[in-house]
Every structure is written in C-alpha cells, then in structure tokens.
C-alpha cells in the first residue's frame, strides 16, 4: 500500500515545482492532523499554537495543491508531450489502462480529491472558528493591536470575545469583517495606518445589538453607590472620597428616569456633532410624546452646516465610549493601584513620587523602565537615607507596579501617550455628560438642558475625608451646613422614590 502511495506521489510530482507542492501538501496535512490530535488529547494547551495550526498549515496545504497542476502544465510545455503521453511515461501500464470507472490513477486522484475537500472544509471551519477568538484578533497583528489587546485583557469585558462586539452575526457581517481584515492586512503591510489609530466609531456594530445582549435598559433601576478614592500629593498621600449615588434607572416612560433614560424604549435622543470625535454638539433633539423632536441648538457653534453623516441616535457607546479599551489617566491609575493595595501607602509622598516617576516624558519603553526605577529609588535614597533599607520591599513593589501601569497605558510604537483616548463617561472638564448638559445648548425658548448635579446622582461625599460625609448629621456651625442638609435629604428622598 505504502509502496503504491509512494509510486503515486512520485508520479504526480512530475517536476521540481510539483514535487514541492506534493511535499507541502503532505507535510502540512500530517502536521495539522498531529497538532489537532495533540490539542484534542490535551497535550497542547498554548492557545497561540492556533495561529500556526489554523492559519499557517491550511494555507500551506492549499498552496501545495495549487503547485501540483502548475508543475504538470510546465512539464507539458517544456516537453511538448500530451498529458496521456506523460502519464504513460510516469506510471506503469496497468495504472493508466482505462477501466470501467476510468484508470487506476484517475480513481486514486478522485479518492484523494474527496479527502482533500473534506480536510479543507474541516480546516477552514476550524480556521474561521479560530479567527473568532480574541487571541487571533489580539495577537495576529501584534505590533498594531497590542495596545487594544493589553487594555482589553485588563477590562470589564475581558471575557467577552472581540467579535461579539466588533463583528455582527450572519454571512454579511462575516464577509464584511473579512474584507475589512483584508484591508487591515494591506494597511499594516504598507504602513498606511494612522498612529494612534482613530477610534473606529463608524465601523462598530450598533450598540443596541451588541451591548444590550447583556445590558438591556430595563435592567437598570435604583441607585448605584460608587465611591471614588483620590489620594493627595502630601506626605501621607491622604485619601479623600467622593461618593455618588448614581441614578442609573431607565425610568418608566418619557418622564422621570435616571441616566439610562436616554436609552429607554420610550425615548429617543439624537444629535449632530462637529466631527467624529463627538465632543462638540451642534444640536441635540429629544423625541416628544407626539413623536415630534424638540431641538436644542448650540449657541456657541452657529453657522455650521449639519453634516448628515454626523447625525446619530444616542446609544450606549456615546457615553460608554471606553467600556473596554480603557486607557487610564496617570493620576487615576495611581489612585486605583493605591486603593487596590498594589502601590504601598507607607512610602512618604508616595502618590506624588509615583506620579512624577510615571509622567517623566520618556521617549521609549526602555527609557521609561529605567526612568521609573531611577526616579523612585533615587528619590527615597536621597531624601530618606535612614529609612530606605527598611522600605526596600515597598520601593521595589512601587517600581514594579508603576512599570506595569506604564506598559499598560503607554505604547510608543502606536504613539499612544497619556490621555490619548478620552473617556466620555461621567464629566471630566466639559466632556462626557456636559457635552449636552451645558448652558450653551438651548431650545427655542432659550432653556438649556439641565446640568443639575443631583439630576444624575446623589452626592454622599465630595472630596471629603469621610466616604459618607453627608449621611452623617450636619454641623450647624459649618459654612456648608445648608448644602449638607440638602444633599442628605435629596439622597434619602431619591432612594425612596
């Protein structure tokens, strides 16, 4: 049998090119089967192997198959012989003699073709399945996708596959994503991409299809308490707290409701922005009970034509624009690590030093790693020579954490530096909520959209030393007595609603 197979192979590999084709096809077939068997048996657990198993070997297999007929054609041209004459030369007479179902060679080729087709079907379905895994999206184009891969794995959606949000369902979405992928391969190969990559706001699937599979508006009700801890830049890195009772409910109808009122079934909000950054609004409209829209025009941006491509119905992504690929601001990253105990609070001026070390304006990653280590250790050696030995572990841990923070957020190759990708959740500066909730977007009567703090959240502490300051009884001698009193009542009343 083996002899027959080898004879057949020899016969098929008519020229050097044909031989290469045969070797490629055979060896990639065998390796694929071995690797897949090893994976199924649990001998191979490294998911990165998928890149080779499912991407490289099937491709080589097909390449080999293509080379074989090319070899035949070339041979025919070179010798001037017909296929029959060549076949007679390469194979023993009985093999090429015509039988009832054709010659033996023909039958052998037929059998192999069926096997090949079955193999290709299996392999390509495995390939498509593999291409749906985050490991493929995140590592196949490593240099370009690494920042997104790193932030994704450190995000609340780390266990949701990339394709669940970025690729839709059905054949159309599949074709679309593969064409898009092809363009991405081209743009990476010929370096046509922008650095940093602009947020692909237009290519995303509609959030209502994606996000609402898990987070649908009716699921948001009541208040959600959130305490933000910030640390001072003083000697003890004193913590101070802002505690908000976020009114996240979607509300019963067009009236009332909290933050998710915007996406409740009864409501529709649409807007036109100046550009794809969606930071400056030309106008905002709210659907009224009679289905007409009430418009709020931006009186600071008059005389700009509305670009119809930039009109959008507000959905999840307009506020949660960084739900997954979250890039941290340096001071917030440090606050977060301090709060989670990953940065020691025992070091004097810990927050201050961490911030300075982290934001040293480094030109590349290697310089940053050296710079962070030097900045921290030099500072404590110079200013606290008596304590530096005892604090060695803390200093080492601080340096380790800061390096990790840096590598998570800063990606020199892609020109991603601090605050490159702005988050619109909440309101920093005049971003986030304040893009629409400000004094400049006004209706025909000149009324603006409310920016009242307690519209969206109760406040239980604001930059206070106690995380629930305003729940405690107010002190009548405090200048802020009236505010304290009001906020306490507002919280209890809104919880009771």
């Amino acid at each position: 049998m083996l002899v027959k197979y080898i004879n057949f192979i020899r016969g098929v590999a008519i020229s050097r090119i044909g031989l290469i084709g045969v070797v490629l096809t055979t060896s990639s077939f065998v390796t694929f089967v071995l690797l897949e068997a090893a994976r199924l048996l649990g001998l191979l657990t490294n998911t990165y192997v998928g890149l080779i198993t499912y991407m490289v070997f099937p491709a080589l297999f097909i390449l080999g198959l293509v080379l074989i007929p090319i070899g035949w054609r070339r041979r025919k041209k070179a010798t001037g012989l017909t296929t029959r004459q060549l076949l007679e030369r390469k194979f023993a007479d009985p093999d090429v003699r015509a039988g009832f179902f054709g010659s033996r060679v023909f039958l052998t080729i037929g059998v192999f073709t069926v096997i090949n087709i079955l193999f290709m079907m299996g392999a390509s379905s495995r390939m498509l399945m593999f291409m749906d895994t985050p490991i493929f999206c995140g590592t196949a184009c490593h240099s370009v996708m690494n920042p997104e891969w790193v932030t994704y794995r450190d995000s609340p959606h780390a266990r949701v596959r990339c394709v669940d949000c970025h690729v839709g369902e059905g054949v159309e979405a599949l074709v679309d994503s593969k064409l898009n992928g092809l363009w991405q391969i081209i743009s990476v190969t010929f370096d046509l991409l922008e650095r940093p990559i602009p947020t692909p706001v237009r290519q995303l699937r509609p959030a209502r299809e994606t996000c609402e599979k898990c987070h649908w508006p009716e699921k948001f009700y009541g208040q959600r308490l959130k305490t933000l801890v910030r640390y001072g830049r003083d000697e003890t890195s004193t913590p101070w707290y802002t505690t908000l009772g976020l009114k996240i409910n979607a509300g019963p109808g067009t009236e009332g409701g909290g933050i998710h009122w915007h996406v409740a079934a009864a409501n529709e909000v649409r807007y036109a922005s100046v550009d794809d950054k969606r930071e400056q609004m030309l106008w905002v409209e709210v659907r009224q009970s009679d289905s007409s829209f009430k418009r709020y025009n931006n009186r600071r941006l008059t005389g700009i034509e509305t670009d119809h491509d930039l009109i959008r119905t507000l959905d999840c992504i307009d506020c949660h624009n960084r739900a997954t690929h979250i890039y941290e601001a340096p001071d917030h990253a440090i606050d977060d690590r301090l709060a989670r105990g990953r940065l020691p609070r025992t070091l004097p001026y810990g927050k201050e030093r961490a911030l300075r070390a982290l934001t040293g304006g480094y030109t590349d990653s290697a310089a940053a790693m050296d710079g962070i280590a030097n900045s921290v250790s030099e500072y404590y050696r110079r200013n606290y020579p008596d304590r530096v030995d005892a604090a060695d572990d803390d200093i080492t841990s601080m340096i380790r954490t800061l390096k990790a923070v840096y590598n998570r957020n800063i990606h020199h190759g892609m020109k991603i530096t601090w605050n490159c990708y702005r988050s619109q959740i909440g309101h920093v500066g005049d971003g986030g909520c304040f893009r629409c909730h400000n004094a400049y977007l006004v209706d025909a009567a000149g009324n603006s959209i409310s920016a009242d703090c307690t519209l969206c959240h109760s406040i239980l502490a604001y930059e206070a030393d106690k995380p629930f300051e305003y729940i405690l009884p107010p002190d009548t001698t405090d200048p802020e007595y009236r505010m304290h009193h009001y906020l306490q009542r507002e919280f209890f009343e809104s919880v009771g609603q």
């Binding site: 603006s448 406040i459 729940i471 802020e480 007595y481 505010m483 306490q488 009542r489 507002e490």
Partner: protein
Amino acid sequence: MRIFRLALAAGAFLALAASAPAQDTAAGRCMTCHKEVSSGLYKQWYNSAHAVHKVTCIDCHGAAATDKDAFQHEGALIATMVTPADCGVCHAREAEEVGNSYHATAGEILESNDAYMAHVVAGEPVAIIGCESCHGAKVKIDPASPNMLSAKSWPNSGIGRLNVDGSKGSCNACHTRHVFSKAQARQPESCSKCHLGPDHPQKEVYEESKHGNTYYTNVDKMNLDSDSWVVGLDYSVAPTCATCHMAATRAMKSTHDVGRRISWTLRPPVSKYKENWAERRENMKNVCRNCHGSAFADGHYYQFDALVRLYNDKFARPAGEIIRLVSENKLLKSPAAFSNKIEWTYWELWHHEGRRARHGAAMMGPDYTWWHGMYEVAQHFYFKLLPEAREYGHPKVNGYIDSLLTNDPMHAWVARETKNLKEDIQKGRMQEIYRRFFETK
C-alpha cells in the same frame, strides 16, 4: 448595627426635613454643583465672612421675576450681577453712603471729554476696557446672552456702574469677590486698581509719601483682619487710603462716602473748594490728629492750599483763557474736538501733569508735586502751549500772551536777567509775588 445607625440618621433627617425651609434647598443645590464647577470661587466664598454667617450663593444671586436681568438656572431664578441694592439688604448703611458718594457718579461719564476721546480718538473697545472697567458701565440687557447681560457690560465691576435695578456702583470694585476680605479692601492695592497712572497717580504718590513708606515697612502690624479697625486703637503704624478717606477714628464713624473728608476738587482744569469744604476738611484733620499735632495738620493744608492756588492762577486759568480765545476766534483748523494739536497740549497740561502736581501736594508726594507735576506744567505752558497759540498769529491771542508775560509778575521773569532774578529770590522779593497764595480765606 450599621442598619440601625442608618435608620437613626434617616430619622434625624426626617425631623430636620419637616423644619427645612425651601431656601435651604435652593442654597444647597447651588453649592452642590458650584463646589465642583466653580471650585476656586467656591473656596473663596468658603473662606469668607459670608460663609461663617451662612450667606450663600442664593442669598446674593437670588432674583425676583421682575428683575430685568433675572434668568432661570437649574430651577432657580437668579441674576449674575450683584448690585449695591442687593448688598444693601444686609449692609444698608454702607449701601446708602456709597449711593450718595462721588464714587457712585463715576459711571456718568458718557458726556465727558474723557469718554468722547475714548470713543472717537480710540474706539469703543477702549471705552469699554479703558474707561468703564473703573468708572462702571451702563449695564445692558441681552436676552440672547446666557445670563441676560450684554457681554459689553459683563464683566464690569466699575465703581459707578449704572445697574439695571437703578442702583449705582459695584461693591466688589473694592470688596473683591468672593472672599470680600476686609483686609483686602483696607489695603492701598484695593484703590490702586484705578487710582494710578499719568492722570491720577494716587498709588504712586502714596508709595512716595511717608505714609506709604511706613505702611509697606509695617504692613504686618496693620491688624488688617480685625473687625474693629480704629486708627490709634487697633493699629497705629501707618494710614492706608481707607484710613484717611473712610475708616473710623475714635471720634468719627467710618464712611463709605469717600468724599466726606475731601475739601478741594483736584479733578477739573481749575480746582475749586467743594461744597461744605470746611466741614470736610475738619473731618480729615480729625484723622490726621490721631498721629500728628494740630499745627502739623494745619501746616499741611497751608502748604497744600498754596500749591493748588498757584497752579490755578499761574497756569490753569491763563491756559484756559488762551484756549478760550483760540476757540472763540475760530482759529482751530479742524472742527472736531481733539483734532488739533493745541487741544492735546492743553488737555495734558491740566488732565495729566496739572493733576499730578495737585495730587502730589495733597498726599505729601514731593516728586509728584514738582518733577512729575508743576515742572511739566510749566514746561508745557511756556514751550508748547504758548508757541502753538502764537502760531495762529491772531492779534487777540498774541495780545493776551504778551500782556501775561509783561504784566503778570509771576510770568514776567521770562524777559529778565537771571542775575536779577536770583537776587530777588535771595532778597525775598520773588516770594513776595506768591504771598497771596498763602493767605487763608
């Protein structure tokens, strides 16, 4: 336990809620947002006496529906601009005094030569920033503006601002918002926001004077934060502008009518005594006497009066007469005011150096009296004004000038020998010419 405490807090809250006036809610709501969105302003307020007395945003910025500048803001009817009428709700005496003061008239400048000049020679932007920032704008309503105020009159904190509620002035011209610090208002820097520069260098004169000198040396001993601030009792090292013009003495109450102790008006081309000048002067001497003897205070006015009269008679009146003759005989080539060089010469003579000389004398600033003052008055009179007037070649003008330089003993020196003049000085004959300026009326 925690739940119990929460319930306890809720109970306490319900008890409070029943008694909470709506005003507390409004006040609390303002503070809630502005603590973050205007954190600097909020912190200023937090450190103010207002905060101690729980005077919050809404107490000053709350508006009535009838107020022309009222607008809805997050459920409250408010006005951005706080006027003396608003402050006067609590500070009634001060608001009334300010309303009757010369400061309160500072905004009525549209008819003045100064305003004419700013609008015509420069242009409106200059009038807004260069004049009205100190003098006060006539506040205009703009319904399209987020706070109802025309951007041409907001911001404006001029001391004579003509407010839409009919009141005049702006307390924060001196009492800088939102700290409203007593100490800050009592310091000379508070006044020198406006009282400085070529036409009224009170700040510079003060800095030159012994008063300023000892103030800047001893500023830490001025007890500026004290509630009671009586000269001689609460502080004694130096007077500031406020001490002499406004603050309390043992015998006198403080006043927000800054003219109550001023006897001359040093502003116009020719100085005049103010109405009830003797009483006003006595008020000022009352301040002086806390640190100086009576003879010292009297002596100061003896010297000061003579200087003012000298300026009036020797230069201001003749210069005015020359301009009157030039104008009466239609000698000015261009019709518009300030389109002829001689008008500018005369303007600077009284409006700049003429005032500098008088202010220098009023506040013990020797250099401003002479080198920045009368010296320049004389130079511009003899070597600019007179030659420019003579250029017209008009007999009436020339006749007046000739007569002045010949017959007026103060000007006749021009045609005499230096040797003789020096001898006159030594013999006292020169001083005799000016004797009348020292005669008390």
